[in-house]
């Protein structure tokens, strides 16, 4: 396998990792706010803050990894996306900054105010919306290159049904992934009341997720036929995704094996995300940058792959340690430590 394929697969894995861990975090923010508004916060907010305290920085690093790696493996993307994403990118940075710092302020600092809960909830939905713009742009049709000067066609972006369907999909997926995870976590903590609530959320958000996925599929056929056709050719991958969705829903509906259910949720998104990505190939930005012509030189590609492997050897044991300490330590989960 060529190193540029290795590169894009690794990066896509990181983005997938970010999608999952960040969704849990973002959705939890929304649920915490919603629960407070509906006076149910005593049920779940303890649970949410116990999970999120040790992991928020790790979530952020997944994202940084993705974009730093992207620039390293595919430097042309820095130029094209950099030129065009100034406004959505800046908005996303500001939202991430507000969320991350206020999270730390409130958590390590003082007690929770309403303003904070609102920001925490709102940014949880706005960040995925802002970040999804990058994926929308990658489909082409929103960028113009005149004499080497690359510009974003803001009007096209704002009026495109595809663009809005992606935003919608991003938001409902976040809520769906998050609530399925929280159901697992509540179950593990033997917190029956919280479980009842987040289980309802998970069931509620599952259907909008499937509907938004279909809508996006259809909107894509209007926007980028080539990509759509590639995805149709990979129909079985999306079939697996829907299969995993059904199993997850069935388990959550039955009220058993929440851990397994969440694994199936992760598989559901894994297949959908990689099906989408595989259909996108070879373009990183249609039609300007491909993985082949946009890739870094071999020397750099090789160096990055080596650094990556060494880095993983360092990180995987450390991450394992962190998970053992917090996520899978039954006493910690139950709030005894």
């Amino acid at each position: 396998m060529s190193y540029e394929m290795t590169g894009i697969i690794v990066l896509w894995l990181f983005l997938y990792g970010y999608l999952i861990v960040a969704s849990v975090d973002f959705g939890a923010g929304f649920f915490a706010y919603y629960a407070k508004q509906t006076k149910k916060d005593h049920l779940i907010n303890q649970l949410i803050s116990r999970y999120l305290s040790p992991v928020w920085e790790v979530t952020n690093v997944f994202f940084v990894f993705f974009f730093v790696g992207l620039i390293g493996f595919f430097p042309d993307t820095a130029y094209y996306y950099g030129q065009t994403l100034l406004i959505p990118g800046s908005i996303a940075i500001v939202l991430i900054a507000i969320r991350g710092s206020f999270y730390a302020f409130e958590n390590y600092g003082s007690k929770r105010s309403n303003v904070y809960m609102f920001l925490y909830g709102a940014t949880g939905l706005l960040i995925p919306a802002a970040l999804s713009t990058a994926l929308t742009i990658s489909e082409g049709g929103f960028i113009q290159e005149i004499n080497g000067d690359v510009r974003l066609l803001t009007g096209e972006l704002i009026t495109s049904p595809y663009s809005w369907s992606v935003v919608l999909l991003a938001i409902v997926s976040v809520l769906y992934i998050s609530s399925s995870f929280l159901a697992f976590y509540a179950n593990r903590a033997n917190d029956g009341q919280a479980l009842g609530l987040v289980r309802k959320y998970a069931l509620f958000w599952s259907f909008p997720t499937i509907i938004a996925s279909l809508t996006t599929f259809i909107a894509l056929s209007q926007h980028n036929m080539e990509h759509f056709q590639n995805m149709i050719d990979l129909w079985w991958v999306f079939g697996l995704s829907v299969g995993c969705f059904s199993i997850a829903m069935w388990l959550i509906y039955q009220g058993k094996r929440y851990g397994l259910a969440f694994v199936f949720v992760m598989f559901q998104f894994f297949f959908a995300f990689f099906g989408y990505g595989a259909g996108h190939m070879p373009y990183l930005l249609y039609p300007y940058v491909t993985v082949h012509q946009g890739a870094a030189h071999e020397a750099m590609g090789l160096a990055l792959v080596i650094a990556f492997i060494l880095g993983l050897l360092l990180l995987i044991p450390s991450l394992f340690m962190l998970m053992k300490m917090f996520l899978f330590d039954a006493d910690y989960v139950k709030g005894k430590k």
Partner: protein, 450 residues
């Protein structure tokens, strides 16, 4: 709106870096101080030092949060504001950027573990061990990022023809000649500024409240560290000057207002320039520039006359250079003075004036860091990649940078104000005296030094 996109891109980058560097500096230096305090506490069985480590950590996580989010901001802004530069940088110098992320990841994982496990281990030394990867992670982050900045000053490891890059050697790019001096200077000054700030906070508390053994130990530890790191930073500064004299003489000559190439060159402190670019009202240290440049009072130092004027930085940076050096000397002097007072029994190391001078040293050390970075960045002008690409060629052509500048200005003001107020509340609601009482009711509260 406002100025052109190049100017606004520079303004926004300066803003983000100027704000981020405060927290990055604390992020590199404070973990080391925390670890030292905890280690002393464990070895001496002295709960004061353990409490010190605990309290420093509590404040530290707030600053880390701001450091993380502003670091994410600058990471993305590099591509958003300097897309053409990042296209080249991505090809040649992305390896250390990538490794920096790993180092930070490593640090974040262990910081999380360190933070939540104070009382979870049977042996306290195990908890202390968790601080080692935090120090390694934060310092290596600084090392990797600094190699990228060094690369901008002394690019190597590639060939550029038009916009095509060939013969890429990522390792040579990292091991560029500017890297060793820069890394040494950045790391030592970050340690220095962090120790100085912790000392300043302690001194301020002693002035405002009553002194007690806890504060005495905190001040002694942080001021001793200040002295050691100030010495290291002075050596690092000297190494940096020698690097510049050899590899970037135009930068050094601009710092020093050194116009004519000559042997036995004088070092110029402050002063003004008249219409003919002649130095007036300056303090001259005879032959010291030659000594600073090459370690020999009679060596020849290249002057500004030898360079194309269009490729030189603005000359006002001279004042920043003088300011930085003097503030560094101040940190060295004040820490020596404190330790002399501490040694001599009859002298009170906690006299008000001395304490105030120590308080002052905290913000001054951070100002010195800011001066140093402005100096390093403006001193490289007009290049973004010295000899290859100018700043003006690298910026985005997007017309909206001005708006983004104000967006981020508002963000940083909010983060700064709220961050400070959270920190104040955090420590005011839980004063040392109270926490000592609660955690360790049996240790003596009065001054027991004799």
């Amino acid at each position: 709106m406002l100025a052109d996109s190049v100017t606004m891109s520079r303004a926004l980058t300066s803003l983000t870096l100027g704000f981020h560097i405060i927290f990055a500096t604390i992020g590199v230096g404070v973990p080391l101080m925390i670890s030292i305090a905890e280690f002393i506490g464990i070895k001496k069985g002295d709960p004061h030092y353990i409490l010190l480590a605990r309290r420093w950590t509590r404040g530290f996580v707030i600053t880390v949060a701001i450091g993380v989010v502003t670091g994410t901001a600058i990471g993305l802004q590099l591509s958003l504001l300097w897309p053409s530069f990042m296209q080249i940088a991505g090809n040649v110098i992305s390896l250390p950027l990538f490794m920096e992320t790993f180092a930070f990841f490593f640090e974040a994982i262990f910081l999380g573990a360190y933070l939540y496990t104070w009382d979870r281990f049977s042996k306290p030394i195990y908890h202390w061990l968790l601080s080692i990867p935090v120090i390694i992670g934060s310092t290596m982050s600084a090392v990797f990022i600094t190699t990228v900045n060094a690369f901008m000053n002394a690019p190597q490891g590639f060939e550029l023809n038009g916009r095509t890059i060939t013969s890429i050697d990522p390792i040579a790019a990292i091991l560029n000649p500017a890297a060793p001096a820069k890394i040494f200077h950045v790391v030592s000054s970050a340690y220095l500024a962090s120790a100085a700030i912790l000392a300043a906070i302690t001194a301020f508390n002693i002035i405002k409240k009553k002194s007690n053994p806890y504060y005495k130990k905190a001040l002694k530890l942080s001021m001793s560290a200040t002295l050691i790191f100030a010495l290291l930073t002075a050596i690092a500064g000297d190494v940096s000057a020698k690097y510049l004299a050899e590899h970037q003489p135009e930068k050094l000559a601009s710092y020093e207002w050194h116009f004519d190439t000559e042997t036995g060159a004088d070092l110029i402190l402050f002063g003004t320039l008249n219409d003919q670019n002649e130095v007036e009202n300056a303090i001259r240290l005879p032959k010291f520039l030659s000594f600073l440049s090459f370690g020999d009072f009679n060596s020849e130092v290249t002057g500004l006359e030898e360079f194309d004027e269009a490729l030189l930085p603005p000359l006002w940076i001279h004042y920043l250079f003088d300011g930085m050096v003097i503030l560094g000397m101040y940190a060295l002097g004040i820490s020596m003075l404190y330790l002399i007072f501490l040694r001599i029994r009859k002298w009170n190391e906690e006299n008000k004036l001395l304490l105030w001078l120590i308080v002052l040293n905290g913000p001054l050390a951070m100002i010195a860091i800011e001066f140093g970075w402005i100096l390093a960045e403006v001193g490289r002008q007009p290049w973004i990649l010295r000899g290859y690409m100018k700043v003006a060629e690298a910026a985005t052509t997007s017309p909206h940078v001005g708006w983004m500048f104000f967006l981020f200005l508002a963000l940083y003001i909010a983060l700064g104000v709220i961050g400070v107020s959270v920190l104040r509340k955090l420590f005011r609601n839980n004063p040392v005296e109270l926490e000592l009482e609660q955690r360790y009711p049996h240790i003596p509260k009065k001054d027991d030094f004799s």
